[in-house]
């Protein structure tokens, strides 16, 4: 111990940083801020350090080349001792990092921590969020499997919607006219050098500001932030009744960070690494590309937006959202901090959380995508064929063979793009069914050119049988009257 102290003294006599460190560590924080609600920032920093460390570990083996990347991941997964575990920790660490950063941000909003004088801290935080997401996206590309390849195609297609300079933006994104070796190389440079470098810089500034301005105090309803009085009030909270950060507050951060690292390792050990999925050969088109968890809401939104507003929303939406986040502390820099007196903040956050949650959940079963093997996978349930006429059975064959089932489910299996057809006869009359099949509409292709009249007749006669036994099929009341009139003109006068 004595020797260690001597070494430290020798170093400190030259570095002269002991005092600064001590001052920083023991800086006073408001008593109530030493709370379990204030642990997310430090947890994000801990995960970032974990990511840097595991990232360097992976770089010992990983080959950032479109020709080798996928193989080097297989090698990591199956040959290198514990390579799978480091990949898993890095992958799960990424998910945890996005989650913790988002929670940290929600807490900051709910506690009004972005208000005066911490506007710049918030601003840096917004950039840190964007860079965390950029790391998650570029990290997905590092995996260079089929999902990564087609994910890049999606990115390029979005970039291609930029007016006037779309072509140039696509080229800069891909590093050339198509997705190829140069694409992976540039994403590697961003994932490993550019963005982490920026992250380290911005995190340092973010932390420096936390030290300079002090951690946000626990918001009390009625304690109003004013530019003229706040600093004095805060000084009172820290210097009169405050406690030193080390050791009185830091232990919660340490416990939580340890718990997070532990959770990441448990997830990594239990669920293993992410992919890689299929080999990145574009000619293997039997693939259903899907983004990673934290981009699934976007994937869902892209399917659900009406086509007319898709491009404007894709281009203007991010500008509006990021602009709002940047401007937030400038139009709401004073006033109440407590969530109990800020219903708009609470409602906005809740709505956002619910919306993103629902979109993410929908991406799980993606009802908008045709089930590519729906038509060949499952047979028509036997009870739908019992006692049917030959024509109706022929119709069920047409139904299968023409891939109707890729979009329509029957007996609980098939696509969800169109409505389930188990009770379609109760909703549509014979004529309506024919028209829908032949002309399409309502987001259904027209099959008029692709089905012979005989096939349409058979198909529709099968569809007309699709109703519960105790429920009559839909009929056109007017038509019944007209046909009866034609058959027997005198009979209509009877009613």
């Amino acid at each position: 111990m004595f020797r260690l102290e001597k070494i430290w003294n020798w170093l400190n006599r030259r570095l002269q940083i002991g005092g600064t460190i001590q001052e920083a560590a023991a800086h006073p924080v408001p008593r109530k801020s030493a709370s379990w609600w204030y642990v997310f920032g430090s947890a994000a920093l801990t995960i970032f350090m974990l990511q840097v460390f595991t990232g360097i570990m992976l770089a010992l083996i990983y080959v950032p080349s479109a020709a080798e990347a996928w193989n080097s991941l297989q090698y990591l997964n199956h040959v290198v001792a514990l390579g799978w575990f480091l990949r898993a920790v890095h992958g799960w660490g990424s998910n945890f990092m996005v989650a913790v950063v988002l929670i940290h941000m929600c807490q900051v909003v709910l506690f009004g921590a972005y208000k005066f004088p911490r506007e710049l801290t918030w601003l840096l935080g917004v950039f840190l969020l964007l860079m965390t997401l950029a790391m998650a996206f570029t990290g997905q590309v590092m995996r260079f499997d089929q999902d990564a390849y087609w994910g890049l195609g999606i990115g390029a297609s979005i970039a291609g919607r930029v007016p006037f300079v779309g072509k140039q933006v696509v080229r800069m994104l891909l590093g050339g006219p198509i997705i190829a070796g140069d694409t992976l190389s540039r994403f590697f440079a961003f994932h490993v050098f550019v963005i982490p470098g920026l992250l380290i810089g911005f995190i340092s500034l973010h932390l420096l500001l936390v030290l300079k301005l002090g951690i946000n105090e626990w918001p009390m309803p009625g304690r109003i932030v004013r530019r003229s009085t706040y600093l004095e009030q805060y000084r009172e909270l820290t210097h009169k009744t405050g406690i030193p950060f080390v050791p009185q507050a830091i232990w919660k951060d340490m416990f939580f960070s340890a718990a997070i690292i532990g959770s990441i390792m448990v997830c990594a050990a239990l669920f293993g690494p992410f992919g890689p999925s299929g080999y990145p050969d574009p000619t293997i088109i039997q693939t259903v590309p899907k983004p990673d968890f934290f981009f699934q809401w976007l994937y869902a939104m892209l399917a659900l937006l009406p086509p007319q507003i898709e491009t404007p929303l894709l281009l203007v939406g991010p500008v509006v959202v990021i602009g709002f986040l940047i401007l937030l502390p400038f139009f709401s820099g004073e006033g109440e901090k407590s969530w109990k007196r800020r219903p708009i903040a609470v409602v906005t956050l809740s709505l956002l959380a619910v919306a993103l949650g629902i979109l993410t959940h929908m991406a799980d079963y993606s009802p908008w995508s045709p089930v590519m093997n729906g038509w060949s996978g499952d047979p028509v349930p036997p009870e739908y064929l019992n006692g049917r006429s030959p024509l109706e059975r022929q119709g069920s064959l047409v139904f299968q063979v023409k891939q109707c089932r890729n979009c329509h489910s029957i007996g609980g299996s098939g696509g969800k793009r169109g409505p389930a057809l188990d009770r379609v006869a109760t909703r549509m009359t014979h004529d309506q069914l024919v028209r829908q099949v032949v002309q399409g509409g309502g987001n259904m292709p027209a099959y008029g050119k692709n089905l012979s009249p005989a096939e349409v007749t058979a198909l529709v006669s099968f569809l007309e049988t699709l109703h519960p036994e105790n429920e009559l099929p839909a009929r056109d009341a007017a038509q019944a009257v007209v046909t009866r009139k034609e058959q027997n003109p005198a009979a209509t006068h009877g009613r």
Binding site: G153, A156, Q168, P177, I179, I285, V401, Q403, R417
Partner: protein
Amino acid sequence: MSDPPVTPEERGDRAEVSRRDLFAKIGLLVNGLAVAILATPVVGYLLSPILRGDRGQYKRWISLGELDEFPEGQTRLAKFENPVTGVSDGDTDHIPCWVRRIQGEQFQVFAINCAHLGCPVRWFAQSKLFMCPCHGGVYYQDGSRASGPPPRGLFQYEYRIEGGRLQIKAGQLPTLSTTASLNRRRSECSG
């Protein structure tokens, strides 16, 4: 009014400070110049994805195979090598496309990429539709949009028939602001 007399020391000091000042400024200028000179090639290097590409190899016609490989009235998957390759492309140079032979020498060659967001569309011969697995875009056999989110029909490659072989011009990922064939406009002008 006349200035108070200045001692030589004062004058000398001032002169020295302003001399250093001047050198500091020149130093800044020299460094700025060096950075600017360095920046020019760096910017050129960074912009190389935009600046290079439309020349040379991309003008080449790429063969998709003999005409007999594409029966009339059918749509088949064809594969080709991207005309320009990098050192680390691996198999990303293998590009698929859908070839529809309408009849005789009338063809349509579709890019694999959905016009919505670039996912690979699949052909269903029975219902004569292209379907996209990502967001449910559907196209008719002639590539026109049938349903779903795509804002337009499938992208097409320029093609020609030369010596009994079907050839296309390729080389670019088609998006709403890029074509599947790289120098399409130029060849349209000349042809």
